[in-house]
């Protein structure tokens, strides 16, 4: 399986995990700009997915802060600090805990600039492990889905080390609040250990680079059907697409990389070519980015479609603990494959 993205630059590359790539990104940005600092729970020992491992030694306690368990408090504090010229990065142990700070995001962080007529800006990155990973319903939210509709936020969901690093650096330099949602299975850490799985690894250039926010990426070219998938689902969709390729079906697989802003044009261009669309996301089927994308295509490009738009997503239930149930709920390769074949059959 080829899920990593080789850079077009001439730089030599190394194979890193997503969390290693993210750590390079945060270090480079802290070195570049001393306004950048990181706060969160237990980040001085590395944080729960090892995003901040080693950061305390390099940047000291003034720029690497352990917080109390006070999510609304420290999100609000980061908003205030950003308004006064700092550039905070908040590391969440699990993205799921951000809901206790929801008002600070929906009402304050995303609205203060607008309500004030542009008097303030809030450069603030939220590092959010997202998705299900065998821990039961309260630790399995697709965080990006919940925030998807809010104006004033940007939302990134990288799937490869290359994208993760380049997008994270762009997020830190962006003058807006950015939710940076990485699937828990993609970091390449297991508890307090690095334990890379194949999906968390990929090539990353030695030289510095950025990946712009808001640009999708065609991870596999194809001509028969367009498949749009992000995060963990991108890997599953690519596996399916590659298997189908050998059976003679050519699927184009697009990773939006950012949900907001969403590169709808890239999808529309592909659909104009293929006339068929399947959308794969991990979150609940109701009200996610997949519904929005389907609705946009049904508004703007319906004339190009030769078949219904199928969405593969979790059913509208919380995520159950038992591994057999979790696996039944989260889209797997067979459900993705069946959806593609169903659309092709139409």
């Amino acid at each position: 399986m080829q899920t990593d993205k080789r850079t077009s630059s001439k730089s030599p590359t190394r194979v890193l995990t997503v969390v290693q790539a993210l750590r390079e990104a945060v270090r480079e940005e802290m070195r570049r700009d001393e306004r950048v600092f990181v706060l969160g729970e237990d980040i001085r020992i590395g944080g729960s997915f090892l995003f901040t491992l080693g950061l305390l030694d390099e940047y000291g306690p003034e720029r690497v802060l352990n917080t109390p368990i006070s999510e609304a408090g420290f999100v609000g504090l980061a908003i205030g600090a950003a308004i006064q010229g700092l550039r905070p990065i908040i590391d969440f142990q699990y993205g799921d805990f951000i809901f206790t700070a929801f008002d600070q995001i929906i009402q304050q962080c995303t609205k203060l600039r607008y309500m004030s007529g542009g008097q303030v800006s809030i450069p603030l990155v939220f590092q959010l492990p997202t998705g299900a990973s065998g821990r039961g319903a309260q630790h399995a939210n697709s965080v990006e889905t919940v925030f998807f509709g809010l104006p004033g936020l940007k939302i990134v969901t990288p799937a490869t080390p290359y994208d993760a690093k380049g997008l994270f650096k762009s997020a830190v330099r962006d003058d807006n609040p950015v939710l940076f949602c990485v699937h828990k299975h993609l970091y390449g850490s297991k508890g307090r250990q690095l334990a890379a799985s194949s999906i968390s690894r990929g090539h990353v250039p030695d030289d510095e680079y950025l990946v712009p926010l808001g640009k999708g990426d065609i991870k596999k070219r194809g001509s028969d059907i367009t498949v749009v998938a992000n995060g963990l689902m991108l890997h599953r969709s690519l596996n399916v697409a590659e298997a189908l390729e050998s059976e003679g079906l050519s699927a184009e697989v697009i990773d939006p990389r950012c949900l907001v802003p969403f590169d709808a044009d890239l999808v529309i261009d592909s659909v104009i070519k293929t006339s068929r669309l399947v959308i794969v996301e991990e979150g609940n089927e109701r009200g996610g980015w997949g519904a929005q994308l389907a609705a946009e295509i049904a508004g703007a490009a319906i004339g190009y479609l030769d078949a219904p738009i199928l969405r593969v997503a979790s059913p509208n239930v919380p995520i159950p603990f038992s591994p057999v149930l979790e696996n039944a709920v989260i889209p797997d390769e067979s459900r993705i494959r069946n959806a593609i074949l169903e659309v092709m059959d139409h």
Partner: protein, 337 residues
């Protein structure tokens, strides 16, 4: 179930004004009168159906906000509440820009996008107001965090009401400020009510300032209808904060003259309580004190009052003459580029 423990005001002895600079005293009175007249005018415009939106008046609470803001430096920053007109004017926000904002005009301090609940002006250190109770406390702590990190010597002051001290965000903010020793002052305008709800219905302790010890922070309850008492308390806390000694909680006992918002007659307040507090109206009280000082004459005071009135009338004219914002501006300022 609800027993109203009527807290009647106790007016403490006040220090003579002779020790204070005449300029400071004049400015104190001018800002209190400005707030009073501004809000009386706003009330009138609202009753006439000329002014849009919803408004929460701070009539009666002028001494607390003016005393607090004058104790700060110009580059110190305050956060405002839903009851923010007085706080904003006390910190130096232009009455013209404020009036225009209430009218939703493009000359408003937020270009008409904020309205009464979100007024502010960063250039005078007034963060655009936050109308969600409690949400401003962590943000104030965050601004103080930046001041400390950048070693600017600035202080942040967070205005909030006594009802707000029951919100989780407030709790988290006080703890963060305490453990990180941030230069922030939590200033409670305790007017005994959150909307219709008396403090005794929602807290089993007497004073909000008693909570300070739960965070390891100094807390004080003071009479809030004398601007000099408030000025002194905030000055002390600000000096302490600037010296690196961390945050403080100051609770000013005061009272609303009207209801919670414009459409509320405040009928839930017992007559005895209303009468007792109304006698402590900070503006005539401070005026009397000024007139006891040989440096102030009736004519000086009356001139000041008249000039404020003229300025406010002018701000109404200006606001009414101003353009409404261009419709396209509704799509601006969502993101910074």
């Amino acid at each position: 179930m609800q027993v109203l423990n009527m807290r009647l005001p106790e007016i403490p002895d006040v220090a003579p004004l002779a020790d204070y600079d005449a300029g400071l005293l004049t400015e104190t009175y001018r800002r209190m009168v400005l707030i009073r007249q501004f809000e009386m005018k706003v009330n009138e415009l609202f009753l006439q159906g000329i002014m849009p939106g919803t408004i929460h008046l701070s009539l009666g609470q002028e001494a607390s906000v003016v005393g607090a803001c004058l104790a700060l430096e110009a580059d110190d920053v305050i956060t405002l509440t839903h009851r923010g007109h007085g706080q904003a004017l006390a910190k130096g926000l232009s009455a013209d820009a404020l009036m225009a904002e209430l009218f939703g005009k493009e000359t408003g301090c937020c270009q008409g996008k904020g309205g009464s609940l979100h007024i502010g002006d960063m250039s005078v250190g007034a963060l655009p107001a936050i109308a969600i109770v409690g949400a401003s406390s962590p943000i104030a702590a965050g601004m103080a965090f930046a001041f400390k990190r950048q070693e600017t010597g600035q202080v942040a002051l967070n205005f909030f009401g006594e009802g707000t001290a029951n919100k989780g965000d407030w709790h988290e903010a006080l703890n963060l400020a305490a453990i990180w020793n941030l230069p922030v002052i939590f200033l409670c305008e305790n007017n005994l009510y959150g909307v219709s709800t008396h403090i005794t219905e929602v807290m089993a302790i007497e004073y909000v300032a008693e909570r300070a010890s739960a965070y390891g922070m100094p807390g004080r309850t003071i009479y809030g209808n004398d601007p000099i008492i408030v000025y002194e308390a905030v000055r002390t806390a600000a000096n302490r904060a600037r010296a690196g000694a961390g945050p403080a909680l100051i609770e000013c006992l005061t009272y609303r003259r009207g209801g919670h918002k414009r459409d509320d007659p405040g009928a839930y307040r017992p007559q005895e309580e209303v009468e007792a507090w109304f006698k402590t109206d900070p503006i005539p009280a401070f005026r009397d004190r000024l007139l006891q000082d040989p440096r102030f004459s009736t004519s000086v005071i009356e001139d000041l009052e008249a000039s404020v009135k003229t300025a406010i009338d002018a701000s109404v004219d200006l606001a009414q003459a101003s353009d409404t914002p261009a419709v396209a501006s509704a799509l601006e300022h969502v993101y910074a580029d």
